[in-house]
């Protein structure tokens, strides 16, 4: 007997929650307990009184499962709102930041700097034998930059995961 799984589509969910202990564990635990995927997750306090946090989760699943994920999140007591930024009509902007450390001297070092320029990555630290680049963009762009840096002495990467927000004047 084989165990099969269904193919899915990528969705970005913006979730506002009470900023209190255990909320993140509750949400990530819901994903593990029900077998949903988390591709990336970011969270930070977003209100002036520190009462609310915004969590951005990139997940993956067939449409009925995405609906389930939203309904399951929505019924958690500390969750205020769940918005699927991939819903029809919900055009949105996604960004991710990566810090990318590259070590090396000579041609590789020059090549790294040139490509960073093409990608509009900023140099945020340098030694005689290394750079740290800061790159901002969609996950795709960050992926491509990191892939190129592999050829130029990549030694370390830190990524934030995706934050996203819907286009237009309205708030979530």
């Amino acid at each position: 007997m084989k165990i099969t799984t269904e193919a899915g589509e990528r969705h970005v969910l913006a979730i506002t929650v009470d900023n209190e202990a255990g909320v993140l564990a509750k949400i990530t635990g819901l994903f593990t307990a029900r077998g949903y995927n988390i591709e990336s997750l970011t969270v930070a306090d977003i209100s002036s009184d520190h009462a609310l946090s915004r969590i951005t989760i990139v997940t993956n699943g067939p449409p009925p499962i995405i609906d389930q994920i939203i309904a399951q999140l929505d019924r958690l007591v500390p969750v205020h709102r769940v918005v699927d930024l991939n819903d029809a009509g919900e055009a949105h902007v996604e960004r991710e930041i990566a810090l990318v450390k590259v070590a090396g001297t000579g041609d590789k070092r020059i090549e790294a700097l040139r490509m960073a320029d093409v990608f509009r990555a900023k140099v945020v630290d340098t030694t005689l034998s290394s750079f740290i680049f800061e790159i901002t963009g969609t996950s795709d762009k960050v992926d491509r930059f990191i892939a190129l840096m592999r050829e130029c002495g990549l030694v370390e990467v830190g990524r934030t995961g995706v934050v996203a927000i819907a286009r237009g004047p309205e708030a979530l």
Binding site: M1, D18, A21, Q68, A71, R75, V77, H80
Partner: protein, 584 residues
């Protein structure tokens, strides 16, 4: 606003919330609360013999009254022992508040004596939980916890209270009006959805109501509304295990329970219906059977208070989010406003009568007085003997549970207490204790299996202490019958560890605890034995010996469709493929 200790606040909040009973067990981390409860004038504390039993007793209390059950246990082992009952309450949507002691805030995280991460452990088996770090928060949290446990889809809420928070003083405050800032379940159904539902019901040629525990949770008025709507539409009705009692079993429109051990007529009617009206039921796998063959011809309306139940397993055509009772009221009002008349469903009923004619609940039996008692017969005899007494029936888990569901007729809600979602052996007896505490003058009977009963049998002491007249009626087949039945179906009768060896003498055990013990061995003794059980004041345990190898039919084997029911033992083949074996 009054200054008092945290422990006093807990007790004050219980009083303010109208709590009269707490099921619990003391320990170091809850001693301040126990002291605050000492000789309390209105709150009765029921001392159980194991914390799991406290949770099931609270469930029994809640299920028989509609009020939330309250549990008080200590930190560490007290809390972990409560986890099974908390999970049980989550799966069956039972309102419950569990207060757990915790080590002082200064010691949290140090592996202190009897420390466990209670909020971590219970995070995913509660509807919500709290760790209270500040005594000033106790009042608002207690009130909010009861609100959450009882509003929307009910469920268990844990409040973990460190010992220093119980001892410290603070200000007790009661929120005037609880409007949780993020938890606001939709109770009122959408009017458009109701209008659409009515049109679908009026147009259906083969409608069926499929109802569940949500109707019971919505209160007795919801059951009354259900009866009215069924009678207005003239449609047949079936229910899940959790929904029994919402609709009277002696009504001709009642088809019996559906699902794995449901009746042939209800499963066939679900399969052939052109419209299913699901009310407070969640298309559980015990109910649907093989999903791709589930109700292929039916449009589906799903009424549920929990949006996440809708389209979870079975995609539906119309979703109505709201309280079952409100939705049923709205449907009745809309039906009458539109002047609908019950349609002629004669053809549909003729087909149903055809399925009924299989008499799927009949069972083979010998009638001589010295014959073995068929377990189904024992349940029927118990039902007959208690008619008119309006008993509360609880069950353990196994064949006896299914036989009770099939052969005991319920005609009112809150009379049938069973562990449906989690299927917890050890639930039934403590649940009976809770129900008996809640309704001291009612006849409360636990229909038990000899194996399940032993999972919380220590509660005989609790019953003796509080002089509760609980009756335990054991269908003793000397087997974990349900396990044995699956081994016969799937593993060519290799009975791996399913024999109930080394059973105690239940009559002597009764004696040891100061109960009355009775034994019934043959069919001839059955009626008299049951009568004696009912007429004996105080707690009684009946060791009713039943046919050892009887199996529970009809049955939809795992992975099969509603139309592939096993109706009798001779249909059993004894093997299954791996796909079917992998299903529970």
């Amino acid at each position: 606003m009054t200054e008092m200790s945290g422990a006093d606040m807990v007790v004050q909040a219980l009083v303010d919330l109208g709590v009269d009973t707490v099921f619990g067990y003391p320990g170091g981390a809850v001693l301040p609360i126990y002291d605050a409860l000492y000789k309390h004038p209105t709150i009765k504390h029921i001392l159980v013999r194991h914390e799991q039993a406290a949770t099931h007793a609270a469930e029994g209390y809640a299920r028989s009254t509609g009020k939330p059950g309250v549990v008080l246990v200590t930190s560490g082992p007290g809390a972990t022992n409560a986890v099974t009952g908390i999970t049980d309450a989550l799966l069956d949507s039972i309102p419950m508040v569990v207060l757990t002691g915790q080590v002082p805030t200064t010691l949290i995280g140090t592996d202190a004596f009897q420390e466990c991460d209670t909020v971590g452990i219970t995070r995913h088996c509660t509807k919500h939980n709290y760790l209270v770090m500040d005594p000033d928060r106790l009042g608002p949290i207690m009130h909010e916890a009861f609100h959450i446990a009882t509003h929307g889809r009910p469920g268990p809420v844990v409040i973990d209270i460190p010992k220093n928070v119980q001892v410290a003083t603070g200000t007790y405050s009661v929120p005037e009006f609880i409007q949780h800032n993020s938890y606001r379940p939709q109770v009122e159904p959408d009017a458009d959805a109701i209008a659409q539902a009515i049109d679908m019901i009026a147009a259906a040629e083969r409608p069926i109501f499929y109802t569940g525990g949500g109707v019971i949770n919505a209160g007795p008025d919801a059951s009354a509304a259900l009866r009215q709507l069924v009678s207005l539409t003239g449609a047949p009705i079936t229910s899940t295990l959790m929904g029994l009692g919402a609709f009277p079993a002696d009504d001709p429109k009642w088809l019996g329970m559906l699902g794995m051990h449901g009746t042939y007529e209800s499963n066939m009617a679900m399969n052939r219906a052109d419209l299913i009206i699901a009310v407070g039921a969640r298309f559980d796998d015990r109910v649907t059977g093989r999903l791709d063959a589930f109700a292929p011809e039916a449009k589906k309306i799903h009424i549920d208070i929990d949006r996440s139940s809708i389209n979870k397993i079975v995609p539906v055509d119309l979703a109505v989010v709201g309280d079952a009772g409100r939705a049923l009221d709205a449907l009745i009002a809309a039906w009458q406003a539109k002047g609908h008349k019950a349609r002629d469903l004669g053809e549909w009923w003729r087909r149903i009568d055809g399925w009924r004619a299989t008499r799927c609940l009949d069972f083979p039996e010998k009638k001589e007085p010295d014959a073995d008692i068929m377990p189904q017969r024992a349940v029927k005899a118990l039902f007959d003997a208690t008619r008119g007494r309006d008993p509360i029936i609880t069950t353990e888990v196994g064949q006896h549970q299914m036989w009770a569901a099939q052969h005991f007729g319920f005609s009112a809600p809150n009379r049938w207490l069973t562990s449906g979602g989690l299927g917890t052996m050890g639930y039934g007896f403590p649940a009976a204790v809770g129900a008996q505490i809640a309704t001291p003058n009612r006849l409360v009977i636990c229909i038990a299996g000899e194996a399940s009963l032993q999972m919380n049998i220590q509660e005989m002491g609790t019953v003796s202490q509080y002089r509760l007249p609980v009756k335990i009626f054991i269908l003793n087949n000397e087997w974990m019958g349900m396990v044995r039945q699956w081994q016969e179906l799937t593993y060519e009768s290799r009975y791996s560890n399913s024999y109930s060896d080394s059973l105690p003498d239940f009559v002597k055990l009764a004696d040891a605890y100061g109960w009355t013990g009775l034994r019934i061995d043959t069919l001839g003794q059955l009626e008299e034995g049951i009568a004696k059980m009912i007429d004996t004041p105080g707690p009684v345990i009946v060791d009713c010996r039943v046919a050892k190898l009887a199996n529970c039919f009809p049955m939809i084997p795992s992975g099969a469709a509603h139309t592939d029911m096993i109706l009798q033992p001779s249909d059993v083949t004894g093997t299954m493929d791996d796909e079917a074996k992998a299903l529970v």
